[in-house]
Symmetry: C2
Subunit: 189 residues, 2 copies
Amino acid sequence: MGFGERSAATRAAILRAARERFAVDGYDRATIRSIAADAGVTAAMVIRYYGSKGELFALTLEPGFAHLDLGSAPREELGMRFARAALEPWESGANPGIAAVHRAAPTHEEAAQIIQKYLDRQVVPALRAALPDDPDIEERAALVHSQGLGAFMARYILRLEPLASMDYEEFAAAIGDIVQHHLTRPMRR
Amino acid sequence: MGFGERSAATRAAILRAARERFAVDGYDRATIRSIAADAGVTAAMVIRYYGSKGELFALTLEPGFAHLDLGSAPREELGMRFARAALEPWESGANPGIAAVHRAAPTHEEAAQIIQKYLDRQVVPALRAALPDDPDIEERAALVHSQGLGAFMARYILRLEPLASMDYEEFAAAIGDIVQHHLTRPMRR
DNA sequence: GTCTATAATTCGATAGAC
DNA sequence: GTCTATCGAATTATAGAC
């Protein structure tokens, strides 16, 4: 596009500010003006570079979910491995885009679809690779994800106690244990 | 209040419309005008009877969560009993107020606090009554609730597949099984 | 490349007629 | 008791100066 050197930094600053605002305030309450202010520019610049609030939001979510890698975990450690891989990035407050998705999803169909995609393209394949012979892997993955979703929402988004203040190791161990159960319990056919 | 017979029906219609709108659209996207239109009146009436959008929303949530009654379930059936008691009302689409709370909670602190209250005043006491000697009942209740929250959000709010279309009996059985595990697994001290 | 000024909406809430 | 008309604030987005 016809933008020079100078603008690249501004563009990046806007995107960074948008990620932060959307993650903290949610889509509706985050305003173009507040994003612009955080980035040290005016609202006009935000529109100039990103067209509209909606387009900016879409780009905000793009880097998306980190690739879910379970490595070559032994069967008995799969749950714990999954829980750590999914939750640990959050302890350092990384990936504001994902918080933004989860804050927007209950009222914005497009955001909910991004979560659906994460489930289909990351969670299911990762678990299928680990348990290639399980005929119910999709149901298991959905249930595993539902526990991950609830734990994530409770601790990081809604900040419900005592989960929000619980020691991370204890938290991860509890969730890992449950995931393991989802993955290994007998399914009714 | 100085309101006569006639207004009572209007009042009720507004509240009913508000519950529906807040549940479907969320707090921010539901407008006074849309609620008024659904109720067959004008926006002025909504304000006249309920003062402000915020006050109306608060009343919307009031009937709140149904009392969580686990009856006298044997220890081995506690998880299943809990899952059914928490989820079954949803299959018939009841209680739009609760959908409204969960849609608003990620971006509205007050709504999140209502969920916290549900956890503290319904989930914890119900489980404590069922397992009076468990020293970790609050942690267990929080973990049970996190699974319930995730399952509820995935199936009814975000409508993630395949959970959203899963047969209810299978769904409830899976969640009940997990809840049971949360309640009975050994805790690290 | 960035800003000021402002257009065009939309929303919550009010005032006052009937 | 209900409505019309409108205010005032806030928002997204545009036009155009510098």
